[in-house]
Symmetry: C2
Subunit: 343 residues, 2 copies
């Protein structure tokens, strides 16, 4: 098989990277070494869910009730329904009871907040989340901040965000937590490495950057990586300059095909958090894609996550883990109550 | 005067940078163009304090009481006393009444928290801060989180941190706020630029990185810069690689002389947040220095802040601004109370 010039160059560098990246990989000059290890998010998610399930089985065998997750959906957006379906399925798998409260799309914010407060007060509800996005007549932050922080398994309540940002044990949003688990469980070192996060959304990109750069000795077990945050106002040539220096690239922009092969250092780790539904011209049907030009980037990268089957399943698994954490009341919010009570 | 090779090379690049960096600077091949504009933090701080003073004078002329700032110091650390002296002086200048509550160094954390709560409840106290560091037998986070968020002019209460990190109007810690004001008032563009923050402390480096990278259209008026966070676990050669790509370098590490001339792109902006007291071998006395090799870096940089006289005075001025904000009750914490009340 004639190798293109790019692949030949990649060969030389990737052979070197092969030895560095993982002792578990077969080191050879065959084409297998040239293609990234495709991280199986579904399999890693299963490991996490199995751990959660085992712990719940033990609690149940000791006579305790099961943890519960309550999901509120306003409206009937198909993507939201699809995400919820995955959450309910994972809850059933792990032994978490769940309920879906589906409110009409014209529900007022006040009515939604009343429902949230009803569930805040319900002692049989451990985890509570409102599926995003909320309808346009509502204000997302106000809704998120109505959820009792100790039930906030999505980790979007501002107090949870603050605790997380100062390296205190908190509910870590499931997608960022899932990205860190992918790195850990794949044996990918982050300490002192160059990491680039593409995308700065408050729910995904920003917390990923926090988790990657912060000190690993504290409660969030962060990554100690030198971390660059790129975003929509990063000029394209600067984006490529940074991604090419990166050992780890995490992409969460929602722009299909943003990350191309020539933007990735041979042997680097590419974590694709993007998820967009696009038209497949060949089949005439829609399909899910990430932010990475997967077919070409996998010829350069050392590790890559597919879409679907990469970060997505990990997000759901970490949500189950957060629900178990909520049930066990592991995160303490008591000392915040007094200072706010006096406000 | 014979010019060193480094300066000759710098000449060529800086002449080019001169034209880019500021229309207000004299463009010439004389040595003046080669030396960075030294940003006068004292003068900028005076502008800010004058604005605060003018606003307070107007309130007083309308018959309103003056804003008040209460400072608690546990122990008698000389550096802390020096910082407090600057704060009290600035308060007097701006027309803010202030008080210093000096507790003995062996005060228990419980006794400190009781004092904080007394001041939380005192309607004549607008801004309340505990001078850091607290003694070793105390836990800083617990102390910070005892301060009522609406009086938290240092912005260290976890709820303020969270609000700030999600781009909501909050008390922004004075040093990060001062850094942004230096950039703004010096006409330095951050949009789409490469910024590097050296240091990731939760009180200084991390909030500076948040302010630099985030979206300028939201409430924190952030910088939209592509932002890299370097820290103690960044290998030295990587640190230099990143600082050399930076248009803006903010250094907050506490390591004198960390940033050297060959680490800075000609014409770049260097903001020195460091402050250490070192022995001056020539005089046999101690002196204050920053993290930047000032004498040499100023020959390469386009803008530089001195230590002292740069960021320090700005920090104090922004604290006065925060105190006025607290007095005016501009930041609303009401909607957080309910979700925590039910915890």
């Amino acid at each position: 098989m004639a190798l293109s010039l790019v692949r030949q160059a990649a060969n030389r560098m990737v052979v070197q990277s092969c030895t560095q990246v993982s002792l578990q990989r077969t080191i050879s000059l065959t084409s297998r070494c040239l293609t990234a290890k495709v991280i199986n998010g579904t399999a890693l998610a299963r490991e996490i869910k199995d751990d959660v399930r085992a712990e719940i089985e033990e609690l149940v065998s000791m006579g305790k009730r099961r943890p519960n997750l309550s999901v509120i959906l306003v409206g009937d957006d198909p993507a939201s329904l699809s995400y919820i379906k995955n959450k309910v399925k994972a809850a059933a798998y792990t032994g978490i009871t769940s309920e879906l409260i589906n409110l009409p799309s014209d529900t007022s914010q006040e009515a939604l907040v009343r429902e949230i407060e009803r569930l805040n007060n319900d002692h049989d509800v451990d985890g509570l989340l409102v599926q995003l996005p909320v309808p346009e007549h509502m204000e997302e932050k106000m809704v998120m901040n109505s959820i009792a922080p100790h039930k906030d398994v999505d980790g979007f309540h501002t107090l949870n965000v603050g605790m997380f940002c100062v390296d205190q044990k908190a509910f870590v949003p499931a997608t960022p937590a899932g990205v860190m688990e992918i790195l850990r469980r794949s044996g990918i070192e982050t300490f002192g490495k160059n990491a680039v996060v593409c995308g700065r959304s408050k729910n995904v990109g920003m917390p990923i950057a926090i988790l990657l750069h912060a000190d690993g000795i504290h409660e969030t077990r962060a990554g100690d990586a030198t971390t660059t945050i790129c975003h929509r106002n990063t000029p394209p040539e600067q984006l490529a300059l940074f991604t090419r220096t990166a050992d780890i690239v995490v992409v969460a922009t929602g722009i299909p095909g943003l990350i191309k092969a020539d933007m990735i250092k041979p042997g680097a780790v590419v974590i694709d958090v993007g998820i967009s539904r696009v038209m497949d011209e060949k089949t005439g049907k829609t399909k899910l894609v990430g932010d990475v030009d997967f077919e070409n980037v996998k010829e350069v990268a050392g590790y890559i996550t597919p879409v679907p089957g990469g970060v997505g399943p990990m997000t759901v698994a970490m949500l189950m883990k957060n629900t178990l954490t909520a049930y066990k009341r592991e995160i303490n919010f008591d000392h915040y109550k007094r200072s706010l009570g006096l406000a």
